[in-house]
Symmetry: C2
Subunit: 249 residues, 2 copies
Amino acid sequence: MTYCVGLLVEEGLVMIADTRTNAGLDNISTYRKLHLFNVAGERVMMLASAGNLSMTQSVLSMLTEGVDGSDGEPPQTIMQQPTMFKAAQLVGRAIRRVREIEREGFEAANLRMEVSFLFGGQIGEEPMRLFMIYSAGNFIECSRDAPFLQIGEHKYGKPILDRAVKYETDLYDALKVGLVSMDSTMRSNLGVGLPIDIAVSRVGALDTEVNHRIEAGESYFHDLRERWSAALRAAHRAIPRPPYGPSGA
Amino acid sequence: MTYCVGLLVEEGLVMIADTRTNAGLDNISTYRKLHLFNVAGERVMMLASAGNLSMTQSVLSMLTEGVDGSDGEPPQTIMQQPTMFKAAQLVGRAIRRVREIEREGFEAANLRMEVSFLFGGQIGEEPMRLFMIYSAGNFIECSRDAPFLQIGEHKYGKPILDRAVKYETDLYDALKVGLVSMDSTMRSNLGVGLPIDIAVSRVGALDTEVNHRIEAGESYFHDLRERWSAALRAAHRAIPRPPYGPSGA
């Protein structure tokens, strides 16, 4: 299992990804799912992955080594792409190439070829963008109306995002709400776990401002979890008793 | 879509169910999913359903009219069952009967035969119990360690239950937290919607203490939603800014 969330607000981009992978509940490991492709001053690109690990790793390797062109064009790397849109298209093409290569083996083993990616960043003077790329290689783009995208186990952590994140939200508030969303997911689903990788890029900086791994026991995140739990308890205590009972109605 | 939650705490049982059904996004209706089988002073039984509506309705009708016995026994109704366990078994048998009857038609139409039920209550002097019954007719029972069960779109509303409900939780606090869980689900998933049916039974009462439909615009539920949103906003504002940024680190 996996949970990754990307938040694209006015001031910049936040990406958060857990690191737990499992092939069955008895085979749990830690793998990095958030990958950065940076050339400071030229481009910042962040790619977070969910789904079959062998496929997402192959997609990553292919994006670095080069994805075969469709009409005998030379292989293209993600670093060569001139725009975020073209780079997202290349991620989609890499997914389709890996599917072609692996299909027979996956079908024989009755495995599902499911992967998804969050891909965000900025190249040169074009706007900062955030995409969600599906197993079929198609993709959608994050909009101002709902300035976040999620992959993996997205449902547990969605209510807080729906309520608390707007396009105008401060960049570090977006990071904070994203971490609360991650915490909610981890508490309710053992398939999502620490450490957590986070990255932040401010619009126009063309570099990451944060690139950090939150390990188990780190005091800020521990404090955030405790404060959030205490606040939720206080919040539901402060709501009046339902008026439907025998003493209320 | 559907969301139903049952909470079995020390003082009693709470059941909450939405009423939205949809056959495609363009065919949305309101159907009662929470059904009560009461004989005051003798038994109180609550059954909430999720999944294919034609199947859950047939199961309900069969439980009322009688489920055929397996070895030529006479048909059995849910009201005849002497214990909650036997009644849960009968629900399971009704599901299997409906599956047998409908299988051919469903397969021809490539429809999924998925249903699930929450079934809780108390008969005579036996303890109050709560079960979740699956499509195959098998079931699990709610325990003190996790005193709630959910069917349907359960993920959005699980984080608040995980944090706020214990076996010792007050009965009407359990109802309140259940309503917050329902609110979180409705905000994040259009397939779950008002009105909401709620029922409460206190241990030993052998009757419902609340049997109410919350309609859109009802002031208590509206107030609960507003207060909860405001409290969440205040809660994440009160958490300190992440220390990872350039000014923080």
